[in-house]
């Protein structure tokens, strides 16, 4: 519904007086307390909320992982029953991927993408808020299943027919389908929003090839989402219709082919893994140049390789199905296509290394995490290449060797990238520096924990320990000192070290909030536009929309080339630049005003969905809420009257506007 909308730029005033608002319900004018957050449409606040939600789910998923590791630490574990264990790994993966990784990338994208391209907000701020709340609803629905008869237990790729009504009779899978469907709509809206933002809202002078790499990677990711989410939507719809309304799509007795689900899932699922990794690639492509004091080596190549990873990523999905009986020709084609993906990814790795080559490397925590990504991801990527060799993969698929692969790319790659982003951008978002010393502990514990946890899984897998088993037995565990018992124990201990590492981050956050030192405006001598404003940024981001002349605009405003000495000479300081912007601030900046409708609509969608599980009356209620919210949304004035705007201040500049949302 959100796509066809009343047109017009929603510029509402600094202060909206209730009498002047149109629409069914008066729009919120409250600026304090919880309302400020619930009804906000400010991309920065939404970004922060994304971050908080994602972090919460990271801990949920992490605790689930710890339970898994406890169960597997020794043979015949009995911490969890078979049933609970199966739910545990299903929800661990679902939570980590859909409720932590994607939203956390969403947090960074929401916060920094507009800042990096010199915009005041995203293209559709209300839809942005809607995406966030839909995600929250989806997450709640997914996890509510724990308390309503058990969570989904079919594994995160939920292969049919095991996920069908006969084999998974509890409601777990229904909640799972529904939660993902809702979260999927959220992502789809979000991705359209961000693509339009990047295409349309760049500051003057910022051509596509002058965009920061982070923005580029986010752009590629959003395209992947726009084109892959509908595919999982189809799969989920088919499954839902089968489970709730008696359709036969995966009913083999009717002649159905279970491989249909696998294709649909992985057509989505493989692009999805690049959705997970590319934001982190983007983050470290900002961090590495900043702390090497050099621009990214081969910017166009990094951009192009990112785009081609995205494109080729759509043609390799069946490498998850090498053992599923595709037939040799298909297997061969997908095997070779998969190998091809290593090439553009290699380009990125090499360019990062070459960025550091000849640089002046400054080992902050952010930089350490970025370096960690480069090395750990390479290890994970190379094991990925060994999977792409199909005959060999038929030996390793569904063993811990695969689990090792994807945790190296996901944890060593994606999570390290996100942590690098936390340390790099924390001062920007909160105006305070995270403690570097705690950061160091955080980093080293995570490196050690991560390698202890997932390193041994290579050995376990290659020696034949299958994944998704709630117990493993001594009989199949080999002999000698380094038998499965040893390595499983190491992995389990490692996971707790990892958890302590994460705990250090949380401690760091708390400590910083309480007593952290105020961040200077440009603590890292950074390179891109988001630093050309105060920390934290004002609600309107920039006092004056910057005009861009360079890739790394901010850096080039600070430095001038000294070709004689083959170095850069500082000509201005970040602080000065920002003060100059403030002095030349635009008059009358109009920001979108807060709105009730996103959160109401999201709630309605959630209720509507529950109706699928709990019957028509609930569905009707949900539908009513959705309808009500939609009309409220559409009828909310899109353009405010001139008189709604706060009068210009005496000097003619209204740069301080009331922070409405």
């Amino acid at each position: 519904m959100a796509i066809i909308e009343r047109p017009g730029t929603e510029t509402t005033p600094a202060v909206v007086t209730p009498q002047q608002t149109l629409g069914a319900v008066k729009r919120p004018v409250e600026t304090k307390g919880w309302r400020e957050w619930l009804f906000t449409v400010d991309h920065k606040k939404i970004g922060i909320m994304y971050g908080v939600v994602a972090m919460a789910f990271f801990i949920v998923g992490g605790v689930e992982a710890l339970l898994i590791r406890l169960q597997l630490a020794a043979p015949n574990g009995h911490i969890l029953s078979a049933d609970k264990y199966n739910q545990m790994f299903t929800m661990h993966a679902t939570t980590m991927i859909f409720l932590f990784a994607m939203p956390m990338a969403g947090a960074f994208a929401n916060y920094f993408l507009p800042l990096q391209i010199g915009a005041r907000d995203v293209a559709f701020p209300r839809i942005n808020a809607l995406s966030l709340w839909l995600l929250v609803v989806g997450g709640i629905v997914l996890n509510a299943s724990w308390f309503l008869g058990g969570a989904a237990d079919g594994g995160w790729f939920m292969y049919a027919p095991n996920s069908g009504p006969v084999f998974s009779p509890s409601h777990g899978v229904d909640f799972w389908v529904l939660g993902l469907q809702v979260a999927g709509i959220a992502s789809l809206l979000g991705s359209i929003n961000l693509i339009v933002t990047v295409l349309n809202m760049r500051a003057p002078g910022m051509s596509l090839m002058k965009m920061p790499v982070f923005t580029w990677m986010i752009l590629v990711v959003q395209f992947l989402l726009v084109f892959s989410l509908p595919v999982i939507t189809v799969a989920l719809v088919l499954l839902m219709l089968q489970r709730s309304y008696g359709a036969t799509f995966f009913d083999v007795s009717q002649g159905a082919d279970p491989l249909l689900w696998q294709h649909l899932f992985w057509i989505f699922g493989h692009p999805e893994v690049y959705v997970l990794i590319l934001p982190s690639f983007g983050i470290i492509s900002e961090v590495l140049p900043t702390f090497s004091r050099k621009p990214l080596f081969g910017y166009p190549f990094v951009v192009f390789s990112g785009a081609s990873i995205g494109l080729v990523g759509f043609g390799v999905w069946a490498h998850h199905m090498f053992a599923s009986g595709l037939g040799p020709v298909s297997v061969a084609v997908f095997s070779i296509a998969t190998m091809a993906i290593a090439i553009p990814t290699g380009v990125k790795i090499f360019n990062w290394l070459l960025t550091m080559w000849g640089g002046k490397l400054w080992y902050t925590t952010a930089m350490k995490f970025a370096i960690g990504l480069v090395i750990l991801f390479t290890i994970g990527g190379l094991s990925g290449v060994t999977h792409s060799v199909a005959p060999s993969d038929t030996q390793q698929t569904d063993t811990y060797y695969i689990v090792a692969h994807f945790h190296y790319v996901l944890f060593g790659g994606m999570v390290f990238g996100l942590f690098s982003g936390f340390y790099y951008w924390w001062p920007k978002v909160f105006g305070k520096m995270l403690n570097e010393k705690l950061g160091s502990w955080n980093f080293w514990l995570m490196v050690i924990g991560m390698n202890m946890t997932f390193g041994p899984m290579h050995i376990l897998g290659l020696q034949g320990q299958p994944r998704r088993m709630y117990i493993w037995t001594k009989a199949r565990g080999g002999e000698g000192l380094f038998n499965f018992g040893f390595w499983n124990m190491v992995a389990s201990i490692g996971s707790f070290i990892l958890a302590i590492g994460v705990l250090f981050f949380l401690i760091n956050v708390v400590k910083t909030a309480r007593s952290g030192k105020t961040a200077p405006l440009d603590p890292w001598d950074a390179r891109t536009l988001e630093w050309l404003t105060t920390s934290p940024p004002k609600p309107h981001n920039f006092d004056r929309i910057p005009v861009v002349h360079h890739l790394d605009e901010f850096f080039h405003r600070k430095y001038e080339e000294d070709s004689a000495a083959n170095t850069m000479r500082k000509i201005a300081d970040g602080e000065e630049l920002v003060r100059a912007e403030e002095a030349a601030a635009d008059a009358n900046i109009h920001l979108p005003a807060p709105s009730y409708w996103p959160i109401v609509l999201a709630t309605g969608v959630g209720i509507l969905g529950l109706g699928i599980i709990y019957g028509v009356p609930i569905m009707v209620v949900g539908f009513a809420v959705v309808l009500f919210a939609s009309f409220g949304w559409v009828l909310e004035p899109s353009v405010a009257e001139d008189i709604d705007f706060a009068p210009a201040s005496n000097d003619g500049n209204t740069k301080e506007i009331a922070p409405l949302g």
């Binding site: 084109f227 082919d257 491989l259 294709h263 057509i267």
Partner: protein, 99 residues
């Protein structure tokens, strides 16, 4: 913004829309006739060609894609192309096209 002027530039008048609609209707008639008249081996190719022609005409003229910014074409045809590629490949693995 002067929509009319911009519109005229595209050279699409209401009359030409009607012409296009007539062509579309005629093709539809032909399509339906394949159901009753035996076209022999030409049946499939003919039917698919007519389908594609109709599709492209609606997209190009009614949806203005032919005259609009290339960016729109890029967005739409990327989706369409990916859909074709991905689903035809998937169907191929089911040996859908050999029979």
């Amino acid at each position: 913004m002067n929509a009319t002027a911009e519109h005229q530039e595209h050279g699409m008048s209401d009359a030409s829309y009607i012409k296009i609609a007539i062509i579309l209707a005629a093709i539809t008639g032909l399509e339906v006739s394949t159901y009753y008249v035996d076209f022999g081996p030409l049946f499939m190719p003919a039917l698919l060609t007519m389908m594609i022609v109709k599709f492209v005409m609606v997209v190009s003229y009614f949806m203005h894609l032919k005259f609009d910014s290339k960016i729109f074409s890029f967005l739409f045809y990327t989706g369409l192309g990916l859909a074709l590629f991905v689903y035809c490949t998937a169907l191929a693995t089911f040996k859908f096209f050999v029979s």
